[in-house]
Symmetry: C2
């Protein structure tokens, strides 16, 4: 979606390494209207294109794909790719239709570019899981490579939306990650999902100016909310918090199974 | 879906010609559970596999792709490709979910095989139009080639379901095509869609043992029912008729614009 930051730079560098000298690295920049709800921030989503282009050039990107909305969506488009299991909760609950928009545009981008490997950030964990599921179920010939979240020095997960925070909100925002870290540490010693989840909710609720959208501890692959710890199931805490109209998300693996 | 007949043979020969000596012809045989409704004939759909294989061999098919249901659909599959405009009427009205099943399986087959060209019969006109729309909207890199309906000497459109007709029904079934031909001929001289549609309905209703599912005259690309003749819009009559539980479909272009 553009408005590239160091998180995107890390994805580009990862792609550059994976592609080697013979492969080509393609970056798509497309603010996708179909993944914004009617009351969301499509029009005010940042679009600093010339900076983005300069970054891509300096990172050795071979092709910058920057289509218009009309190039991606045909007139009277009537086809949608829908994922109905992993998409319904978490961000999907407060953003109905969001992941249909994500799946549809990613499928279109894959069909146009036909990448061998596509790199996505783990910050948008639900998106990554939904895309993995789409690729699995539709048997797309592309390998999905997740890349760890890149953070500011104070721990805030990099996001193009961070620049929309007011100064006071920006000061408080790192406490989202601190709450996740606290939960992860406690999960090593307290093997009880309910306890960790309550602690996480309490720590997030204590951030001045923050309003919780959701706090969940889920199976990291299926995104099913976990009630108890099971052998072989990797638990991950996923949270969403609003500062005013700016919605931030973050996630971290829990350590129940060591 | 297998149960190959001369209509399929014509598609295979068309593919063989299009592929030339360097290209490869792949035939998929897969009776797709997701395109059958709960009360439909999935279990009794004919599956004469060894005959199908022999036919493919003798027609110079390079690869016969005959996967199991488990090979096509992952456990707990949750991703669907949906077309919502062309799919809702006609066969889609009496078969809810049918075209979601068609789009999803065709997308999977395309992702596995990655064909340059895919040949579909015009007998299933709505299916062909829906697939063209899916390919257009999702920007799939495949050319869709329609092939004219192949008919018995008495005019009945070839279909794997014809063999399920009782002898008396089989004798009456060619009157579907005769009704379409009558409508096409009259459309050359009577430029009134309502008149032609009523004539077609009357002729189909007069077939002993037949029950009409639908009779429509539509824009052949968008499948929108036509009220009046418009320059540049190609009109096509699409009909569906039951004999007992056997559902037959057929279609023919009308000649309003010469």
């Amino acid at each position: 979606m553009g408005a590239l930051h160091e998180g995107h730079t890390a994805l580009i560098r990862r792609a550059r390494r994976l592609a080697g000298t013979k492969g080509r690295v393609v970056v798509s920049i497309f603010v996708n209207p179909k993944q914004f709800g009617p009351s969301e921030d499509f029009s005010r989503y940042p679009r600093p294109f010339s900076q983005d282009r300069d970054l891509c050039e300096s990172e050795g990107v071979d092709l910058l794909f920057h289509p218009s909305v009309e190039e991606i969506y045909e007139e009277n488009t009537s086809v949608t790719v829908t994922e109905k299991s992993l998409s319904s909760g978490l961000c999907g609950f407060s953003r109905p239709g969001h992941f249909d928009g994500v799946c549809t545009v990613v499928d279109i981008l894959f069909n146009v570019i036909r990448p061998d490997i596509a790199v996505f950030g783990e910050k948008d964990w639900q998106q990554l899981a939904v895309i993995r599921r789409m690729v699995r179920d539709l048997k797309m010939q592309v390998k999905i490579q997740g890349h760890p979240t890149v953070r500011e020095e104070d721990g805030l997960a990099l996001s193009s939306r961070n620049r929309l925070l007011l100064p006071g909100e920006r000061l408080m925002a790192p406490r989202i990650y601190q709450a996740l870290q606290g939960a992860a540490m406690e999960s090593e010693v307290v093997p009880a999902i309910g306890v960790i989840k309550r602690r996480l909710g309490r720590d997030l609720a204590a951030i001045p100016g923050a309003e919780i959208d959701y706090v969940e501890i889920v199976d990291e692959a299926t995104l099913a909310p976990l009630k108890k710890i099971s052998f072989g199931v990797r638990a991950r805490a996923l949270v969403s918090v609003h500062f005013g109209s700016v919605r931030l998300i973050d996630n971290l693996p829990m350590k129940f199974n060591g």
